[in-house]
């Protein structure tokens, strides 16, 4: 970590040491300010995403955890008033660099959303979408099957691949979206509260899936459910809301190994949050 980054991290959280992962950080997000128009949504947060691990983002609503996640693959660029200050180093390159096309970023950093959002086309076409988009020359059929198997959906849909993706149940749709995202084998998978629209059984399946996914991919996961973070995340980043300046600005309070965050939090705010004093 550079000296300035260290100093900055110290300035935000004087007591807790800035988190540096043991392994390689595939994404190094050094966020200074994120605005929506004039509204300062998130400030000063250094969030490294470690390779081959699941990094969980937790925090109360409005703390900017989704905003930070969506900044990593420039999904927020869809919002015209969005402005990002800082940098997100991905394999050493800033994804906010002047010459970088956000489309390219999103092809390497895949995303699964809060609401299942399959395209209104067949199950097969949904999963093959990314392969066709990238003009994949190999065996599309085989890749589709593999992706559906990894998403633990193959057995349920193998006889109805021509049916619309929207004909599936909510949990199945979400696993279809995961299959669609991993079919192209993206380097990193961002998951923005992927279980919030799912029932407990489907949630269990998706969590199981995440644990299997981390063997091949790096996963960053936003969750409003602390138990979920303890179940699946290796590293946890806790975000808080600062209302002292009149607005509601999110910032990284503490980041560390999941067990440390939940059992031995260094910050008072983290302690209150993980013990359920506020949510």
């Amino acid at each position: 970590m550079s000296a300035t980054a260290e100093a900055m991290a110290q300035a935000i959280s004087p007591r807790a040491a800035a988190f540096s992962p043991i392994g390689d950080a595939v994404i190094d997000c050094q966020l200074q300010k994120v605005f929506y128009g004039d509204f300062l949504a998130v400030r000063n947060s250094h969030v490294p995403i470690e390779k081959g691990k699941i990094t969980g983002f937790i925090g109360p609503s409005g703390c900017g955890k989704s905003t930070v996640l969506r900044s990593l693959n420039r999904m927020n660029d869809l919002i015209p008033s969005f402005r990002f200050e800082g940098h997100v180093k991905y394999h050493g390159q800033d994804v906010y660099g002047k010459t970088v096309d956000p489309v390219v970023v999103r092809r390497y950093i895949g995303m699964v959303f809060q609401q299942p959002n399959p395209f209104s086309m067949s199950i097969y076409d949904n999963v093959a979408f990314g392969l066709r988009l990238n003009r994949y020359k190999g065996d599309v059929e085989e890749r589709v099957q593999k992706a559906l198997e990894r998403a633990a959906l193959w057995k349920e849909v193998k006889d109805k691949l021509n049916k619309s993706g929207l004909s599936l149940s909510g949990g199945q749709q979400q696993r279809l979206c995961i299959a669609r995202a991993i079919a192209t084998e993206p380097d990193v998978l961002l998951m923005d509260e992927p279980c919030s629209a799912l029932d407990p059984i489907a949630t269990r399946q998706v969590e199981q899936l995440m644990l299997e996914l981390k063997e091949r991919y790096t996963v960053a996961l936003v969750t409003h459910n602390m138990q979920q973070a303890t179940r699946v995340a290796d590293t946890t980043a806790f975000f808080g809301v600062d209302i002292s300046q009149g607005g509601r600005t999110g910032y990284l309070v503490e980041m560390g190994e999941t067990r440390q965050i939940f059992e031995d939090p260094q910050e008072e705010l983290t302690k209150q949050y993980v013990s359920g004093e506020f949510s």
């Binding site: 489309v103 999103r106 959002n117 209104s120 979408f129 988009l133």
Partner: protein, 325 residues
Amino acid sequence: MAVNPFQHADSASRVSGPPSGGDYLADSIFRIIALSCAALIVVLILYILWEIGGLALPAMAQHGLSFVSGTTWNVGTQEFGVLPEIWGTLYSSFLALILGGTFGVGIAIFLTQDFIHARLAAVFRTIVELLAAIPSVVYGLWGIYVVIPMLRPVADWLHSELGFIPIFGTELSGPGMAPAALVLAIMILPTVAAITVDAFRRIPYKVKEAAYGMGTTRWEAILKVMLPTASSGILAALVLGFGRALGETMALAMLIGNSNQINLSLFAPANTLASLLASSFPEAGQIEVQALMYAAVVLLLITLIVNIVGLGIQQYTVRKFEGKA
């Protein structure tokens, strides 16, 4: 008034109680009104069919199916055939649908897919919808005085250079298929555009997010995701536009040339069923009126078939793409 089995609960709550007899009466009255409104429409359609069918009956009995396959309309010899009109109706509507449909969908994409600011898009949309407010006869006049003269040099060039292609096979003598189809395309444009805009607007934001999240460029998102998602709505727009084109009367009567012939050429005059009806009725005798009524029945049937087939295709796409039964 319904029995209230929970009367003993009155002692517990002083506010809750069963609906009054008046409430139930209002319910039934409202249901009857709604039902009769719906029934009235069905009755009206059946009545119109009955009346026109009745008037057309003598002609139907006399000419039978040869009316549909015949190619001459001669009051003197009492020969009545509407094949050229059927051809003209379908051909002009088809051409208008291709032109108006392409532009209508294009305008809808332009207005809904973040090409311009939302407020400017609303202004544009109003302007496009204003096209629907222009009376048919004004379109006809505009066609005669503006479109035909404008078309003439283009048509002459196409005919002389590419005359070997059947669709450019004749010279443009004035009114004809090309100006009629062109004006017809403009007339169905607002219908197609407005309904397609609504179809695109109905697409949830999360679909757009999903598309960009997969790393699509803007055009890939529009062509590969937004268009298939809106396809059932776009089909509905095209069916309605085609239906409008089939029945359009005044502008076509002024522009198509009212000539009973079947010709692939865009520049040849032709005729449509609606314009045949409009231009022949004022001077028709009893026998011809019966034949015209028969022609009206044919037009009604064509419109009906087009709408049913269109609805069928639309239902199919809804099932196929959206997975709804």
